[in-house]
């Protein structure tokens, strides 16, 4: 059962024309700047906004095929986590999670039992009776996720699910959300403007600009070959999975990196291409990461030049035009890449 969506919405001067395909079990991130049409796309998929053209189909079911078919939100098997969660303030955490089950016809006792199981899964069994305003941001986010997943939806829509959290909470909640998404067998669409959320959580990125898809592919592909300056600026992240022991991270793809803050267990290590220095010889005299690389490609963007480098691990570096001239960079050149430990951030995954 694949989700096929050709989202066409016209509202005044704004036009959304985006095609999306999501396979079961796949997490697709819809990434783009504010006003690109991400929320419009999500609302159309949720049934909160009818399409002007195109179609939305899940397997054999037509959800929105204007002008003939429109299934409203309450008749679509969906779960939505809203940016500010929209938990019902007068209901307890348990009743919030049970709401969807009750609305879809479950008996009171059965709904509460199932809701309690979900609260337990997100680690909030102890807060079942708490009202939303007594919950922290991270807890509220987990209740919202449990509420969205409790009905066993075919399509899970996440609207900037981490945007409302502070930086420290965000790390943990992101890692936890990643675990739940891996367990979830349905289709997931994650709407975000945060490239890190997208790259960590999603199997595939779809980048939206001015209502149109400008690029799609795996996070690594999109980062390596950005098609527009916006994508280059936004998604240009070096991202690795690995296992941390203190400040040393062994990368799954090979190689090790040193990070500033000690962590343990599976992590993502992230640093921007601007943090990568390129040197003709091995740099000396500082506790940094340095390894041999070979220039695989050079792409010119508006303000910088992005250099793709093969090595263990492979890496992207943004350098100034002056550096390109100084080093006389050409594909096949051998160089040393250097990254300060303080620039490399490790996030638990």
């Amino acid at each position: 059962m694949t989700l096929h969506a050709d989202l066409r919405v016209t509202r005044g001067a704004f036009r959304l024309a985006a095609e999306l395909v999501v396979e079961p079990g796949e997490v697709v991130a819809l990434l783009g700047p504010n006003g690109a049409g991400k929320s419009t796309a999500l609302r159309a998929l949720a049934g909160l906004l009818p399409l002007s053209g195109g179609h939305i189909r899940l397997g054999g079911q037509a959800w929105d095929v204007p002008p003939a078919v429109f299934r409203p939100a309450e008749r679509r098997p969906i779960g939505v986590v809203f940016q500010d969660y929209l938990l019902f303030a007068h209901l307890s955490a348990l009743e919030n999670v049970a709401f969807g089950l009750r609305a879809r016809g479950a008996g009171r006792a059965a709904a509460r039992a199932e809701a309690a199981r979900w609260l337990d899964r997100v680690g909030l069994a102890a807060h079942a009776k708490a009202k939303p305003r007594a919950l922290s941001g991270g807890q509220a986010q987990r209740v919202a996720l449990a509420r969205a997943l409790a009905t066993g939806p075919d399509l899970l829509l996440l609207d900037e699910p981490l945007a409302a959290l502070d930086a420290a909470t965000r790390l943990h909640v992101r890692a936890e959300l990643g675990r739940h998404l891996r367990d979830y067998p349905g289709h997931t669409l994650l709407v975000t403007h945060d490239p890190l959320d997208a790259m960590v959580l999603a199997d595939r990125l779809v980048v939206l600009e001015h209502g149109e898809v400008v690029q799609e592919g795996t996070p690594a592909d999109v980062a390596r070959r950005p098609r527009t300056d916006y994508v280059a600026d936004l998604v240009g992240l070096n991202l690795y999975r690995g296992t941390a022991h203190g400040t040393t991270v062994s990368l799954d793809a090979g190689g090790t990196l040193t990070v500033a803050t000690p962590v343990t267990g599976p992590v993502h290590v992230v640093f921007p291409p601007t943090a990568v220095g390129l040197h003709p010889e091995r740099p000396v005299g500082s506790p940094r990461n340095a390894w041999r690389v070979t220039v695989a490609g050079i792409e010119q963007h508006a303000h910088t030049t992005r250099v793709r480098l093969d090595g263990v691990p492979p890496v992207l570096a943004d350098v100034t035009t002056a550096t390109v001239a100084d080093l006389r960079l050409r594909p096949g050149d051998e160089l040393w890449a250097a990254v300060k430990a303080t620039e490399a951030h490790a996030y638990p995954s």
């Binding site: 949720a46 049934g47 909160l48 939100a73 309450e74 929209l86 019902f88 709401f99 969807g100 609305a103």
Partner: protein, 268 residues
């Protein structure tokens, strides 16, 4: 120092202070006068006398029934005005508020010509069901509801428009129909507005005079509510009029106090 402070604070200009004090006195002195003139010693016995008790009971019953009518019809109407996709919502909203500014007597006349035995609707009620509303207790309820409903509708509509409609959308994505979302999500969130509207509506219904006497007449035990009884008693038994007035005053003050404590000053 002292003179500096005086100068910075300034004095209330006489042109404002004098009319302000007169205005305050104008509003308060009649009420104080009422309390001074009240026959406190005989008040309990008068209060429980047959005619006063009857008017009081009738008033409470009719105002409460009228409030129920207003709730049943007014809350959905407020929802329609705040959320419904109806053309000409602005005009509808203006029309709903007409009874607020309409002299109640005119409302009573209008009711009489529509629901009266020869009225537009009333003749059919009479012919098909044998129901005649004017000059009955049901007529009192209708007249009070007609005058009081806008208070409820406006209060509830304001609360609805202040409530975030995205909670209804969240409920929809969880599989709730609009009716279920309204019942389980919207209504609880606007409850303070509904309660405030209900109290205002009930107080307005309790004090209704013009429309009631025009549409329902003045039949002791059947349509003579407190305000009507006050007006009648003024000619025959001024002390009874004062007792009834004091009771109505107490109810009004009580309503204000309840609103002020819990709903008017906003969430604390």
């Amino acid at each position: 120092m002292r003179s500096t402070r005086r100068r910075t604070r300034g004095r209330l200009p006489v042109a404002l202070a004098l009319p302000a004090v007169v205005g305050l006195a104008f509003l308060l002195v009649p009420l104080v006068g009422l309390l001074i003139r009240a026959p406190w010693r005989t008040l309990p016995s008068r209060l429980f006398s047959a005619s006063v008790g009857e008017a009081l009971r009738l008033s409470l019953v009719c105002a409460s029934l009228a409030t129920v009518v207003c709730l049943v019809l007014g809350v959905p109407l407020a929802w329609l005005l705040a959320r419904g996709d109806v053309p000409g919502r602005g005009v509808l909203r203006a029309l709903v508020t007409v009874p607020l500014v309409l002299p109640p007597v005119v409302g009573g006349v209008a009711l009489l010509f529509v629901l009266g035995r020869r009225g537009l609707v009333g003749q059919h009620l009479d012919a098909w069901f044998g129901v005649s509303l004017p000059f009955t207790t049901a007529g009192v309820v209708l007249a009070e509801a007609f005058v009081a409903m806008p208070f409820l509708v406006i209060s509830v509509e304001g609360a609805l428009r202040a409530a975030d409609p995205r909670y209804e959308e969240a409920a929809a994505t969880l599989g709730a129909s609009r009716w279920l979302a309204f019942r389980r999500v919207t209504l609880p969130s606007i409850l303070p507005g509904v309660v405030a509207g209900t109290v205002l509506c009930w107080a307005r219904a309790l004090g209704e005079f013009g429309a009631t006497i025009t549409f329902a007449g003045n039949f002791p035990g059947e349509t003579t509510t407190m305000p009507l009884a006050v007006y009648l008693a003024l000619e025959t038994d001024p002390d009874a009029a004062i007792v009834l007035s004091v009771v109505l005053l107490m109810v009004s003050v009580g309503v204000l106090a309840a609103l002020r404590d819990r709903w008017v000053s906003g969430p604390s």
